[in-house]
């Protein structure tokens, strides 16, 4: 990027214009390449309309909602302690496992009536959220807090250590292969079809759980006393402590919130995909972390936006290019976005990257 822009700058006026144009619109152009390309090829091809792209979009958004929930956990934790919490993906995985286990405990099955099912799910959701949230808080207490004054990368390694431990827990829990669970909500069943775009039960569930949670989260962080303490600590821990904010409690709370969202994502994932396995957290963690960085790490809206964009790109690539290439495509996009906008889509100046 730097190398490319330097020669362009030499013929002063025109080069500057090109550079301004790239820095203003380059990112948007990059993001639009794939959708626009497929829109044109759909319109001119056999299908003649945009219904396939619309389906991709709906599926992508509901998948992206799951990534957004996980990504918020990364972004909250990064914002406050500047740590890539590698164990976060595994916390999400444990959320899925707890959900699957709890369905069995309270006796939810595919033939459960709708009313009972709704009640059951409403009970399971807080259970999963609490399990994941407490797990995340515990990890912070055991693995990260003793290392606060250590070199910056030391907690990264304990995070990886916890991620291995939790994966092993998952491996012992349900075995080493993909485990099918009851398709409680009949997730691939089409609910409504608008102009050729099918909205399935799974999509509705994902959005119905995610949107209220996101609103609640934003309200909590923006409005409550504890949320204010979190923002203050993220901005300047030292000053926050001087103002009488309990930094330790605030950090624990952040991990709790992040873990709870990951737990919610876990239950949606279990219901949506209907297969779970111990390795799902690894992929989800990478994708969600990518989403958080793409949106500008430390920024909650950015994490949501990044999650949705990645969900859409993934769906496009799964559907059109082949799912074996999806990770490569997602990461390619990440590199392009980082090249055009180094602080992420909605990135603010964080303490370190100031």
């Amino acid at each position: 990027m730097e190398a490319a822009s330097v020669p362009a700058a030499r013929p002063a006026a025109r080069g500057q214009a090109v550079r301004d144009f790239i820095s203003k619109y380059g990112l948007i152009l990059v993001l639009l390449i794939l959708p626009v390309y497929y829109a044109i090829s759909d319109l001119t091809g056999d299908e003649g309309d945009l219904s396939r792209l619309g389906n991709n979009l709906v599926d992508g958004l509901s998948n992206g909602a799951i990534w957004a929930l996980v990504a918020i956990g990364y972004t909250l934790v990064y914002g406050i302690v500047e740590l890539i919490n590698f164990a976060h993906g595994e916390v999400f995985m444990i959320g899925s496992f707890v959900a699957a286990g709890f369905f069995g405990t309270i006796g939810l099955a595919e033939d459960t009536g709708t009313a009972l099912l709704v009640v059951g799910l409403l009970v399971t959701l807080p259970v999963c959220m609490l399990a994941s949230g407490l797990l995340n808080t515990m990890i912070e207490r055991v693995g990260y807090r003793p290392l606060r004054s250590a070199p910056k990368l030391a907690p990264l390694i304990t995070a990886v250590g916890f991620s291995f431990i939790l994966q092993n827990v998952g491996l012992l829990w349900l075995g080493g292969s993909q485990e099918g669970i009851a398709d409680l909500i009949n997730s691939q069943h089409g609910l409504i079809t608008i102009a050729g775009v099918e909205v399935t039960n799974g999509d509705v569930l994902a959005l119905c759980v995610t949107i209220p949670l996101l609103l609640a989260m934003t309200a909590f962080i923006g409005g409550s006393r504890l949320g204010k303490a979190m923002r203050a600590t993220a901005q300047d821990p030292e000053a926050a402590r001087l103002m009488g904010i309990n930094v330790d409690t605030t950090i624990s709370l952040t991990f709790l919130l992040g873990g709870m969202l990951a737990g919610a994502a876990g239950i949606i994932y279990a219901l949506y995909q209907t297969t779970i396995w111990y390795f799902q957290g690894f992929t989800a963690g990478l994708i969600a972390f990518t989403a958080a960085v793409m949106g500008g790490i430390g920024n909650i809206r950015g994490a949501v936006l990044g999650g949705l964009i990645i969900g859409f790109i993934q769906q496009l690539s799964d559907n059109r290019i082949g799912s074996e290439w999806t990770p490569a495509i997602v990461f390619m996009y990440l590199i392009l976005i980082m090249t055009f906008k180094p602080s992420g889509l909605l990135g603010e100046e964080t303490r370190e990257a100031g």
């Binding site: 990027m1 606060r148 250590g161 916890f162 991620s163 431990i165 790490i297 490569a328």
Partner: protein, 413 residues
């Protein structure tokens, strides 16, 4: 071996009583021959065909890689989570230039450069190992600089994610390129297809390129998989070269520029350190070591398999660097040996028998991953600064504590 070095280095770590600079410069130099003589003599002590020497050879190859990553992360302070990319490129260089993989080259006669003996009659491309090393260094240096380019404007953990992305992309390509034919590539497809043959694919994916040529030095018989001593000494030789380069670089103008950039980029640049060039050189040098080790491992393990190139590999190497002590050369050597022994010897060979001896019906291999994670956590909590921290960092840590009465994060508000 490392025990001999621990006392003076440890004194540097605990700077409380003793000044960190108190280790005399000759101590480090005097330690080098001790280290190498002890290591070179090891195969005579242990069974030279057994698993232990295999593990030790592997550990030495990882030392080379960890030292490479140490240049990027430890010296220059650029967090690289995609180091596996360089391992992959090095290993594929070995696989491509030292195996029967390109069987159709020159009408199945094969292309041979600097090889003799049985290999010289096989189809495929067969280069001498030393030539492969040179090519691997060239490839990985270029790749390192290319990966470095988009990260130049980024800071901190954004660099981590971009390097991670590159590592994952390379890993993906390694897995999936067994469906891509050279002849079907755009633009260059025609001539490449003519050269390699219409059906030739780019990688062997999860099947792996195997067998790979054994290392053969001019004037010596090729190595065999039965006699591991020459492999071990070759790896030790590579470690020696890499250590030498590391020490010379650390104390050079370039090394000081890396450390200056790591400590404060703005200050370094305003003092005239060329940030772009310095960073790219860090990526390039670090990558080259990864390529050397990758090419060696490709031949030693006798396979170049896409499953080897996963994200965990980057984390394993990064763990070695951080555990040993970021930026500390001997620390990284110790960290690499420790972690690879935990990974390849302690967990599979030693701990495996424990439940059996206790009379428990329990398979340890099932929880080997968890044990590894547990050990990582314990080691990091007990010694967060690394086993043998770099003097400069040790000093910073203690010095910093003296200045501010209480660091923020130790505060219990």
């Amino acid at each position: 071996m490392t025990e001999t070095a621990t006392p003076p280095e440890k004194a540097a770590g605990h700077a409380g009583e003793k000044k960190p600079g108190a280790v005399p410069p000759w101590a480090e130099k005097a330690f080098i021959p001790v280290f190498f003589i002890a290591f070179a003599a090891l195969p005579f002590v242990v069974d030279s065909s057994g698993g232990l020497i295999f593990d030790m050879t592997l550990a030495l190859a990882y030392v080379v890689m960890a030292l490479g990553l140490n240049i990027i992360v430890g010296f220059a302070g650029l967090l690289d989570l995609g180091y596996v990319a360089f391992f992959a490129i090095g290993a594929y260089t070995m696989g491509w230039l030292g195996s029967g993989f390109f069987s159709a080259v020159r009408n199945e006669e094969g292309l041979h450069v600097g090889v003799s003996g049985g290999v010289a009659n096989l189809p495929g491309i067969h280069f001498n190992f030393l030539l492969v090393l040179v090519v691997a260094i060239i490839f990985t240096t270029i790749a390192g600089m290319l990966i470095g380019l988009p990260t130049l404007r980024l800071r901190g953990d954004y660099i981590a994610i971009v390097t991670l992305a590159f590592g994952e992309i390379i890993g993906r390509v390694a897995v999936n390129a067994d469906e891509i034919r050279f002849s079907s590539l755009p633009i260059v497809g025609g001539p490449l297809g003519d050269f390699f043959g219409e059906e030739q694919v780019v990688t062997a994916g999860r099947q792996g390129i195997t067998p790979v040529d054994k290392i053969a030095f001019p004037g010596l018989d090729p190595f065999t998989s039965l006699e591991l001593k020459p492999w071990y000494w070759t790896a030790l030789g590579l470690v020696a070269v890499v250590l030498f380069v590391n020490f010379r670089l650390r104390d050079s103008r370039l090394g000081r520029a890396w450390i200056a950039l790591r400590e404060d980029e703005v200050a370094a640049v305003s003092m005239g350190v060329p940030a772009v060039k310095t960073k790219l050189l860090a990526y390039g040098t670090g990558a080259a070591f990864g390529g050397v080790s990758g090419a060696y491992l490709g031949s030693f393990l006798n396979t170049v398999n896409a499953d080897q190139f996963q994200f965990y590999f980057s984390i394993l190497i990064l763990g070695m660097v951080i555990l040993g002590g970021l930026g500390s050369i001997w620390g990284v050597v110790l960290g690499a040996i420790t972690l690879s022994f935990i990974n390849f010897w302690l967990i599979p060979d030693v701990l495996n028998d424990v439940p059996g001896k206790l009379g428990l019906e329990f398979d340890m291999t099932q929880i080997s991953f968890g044990i590894y994670g547990f050990l990582l956590v314990i080691m990091m909590i007990l010694r967060p600064q690394g086993l043998l921290p770099e003097r400069r960092r040790a000093e910073e840590m203690t010095h910093g504590e003296e200045v501010s009465d209480e660091t923020l994060y130790t505060a219990r508000a």
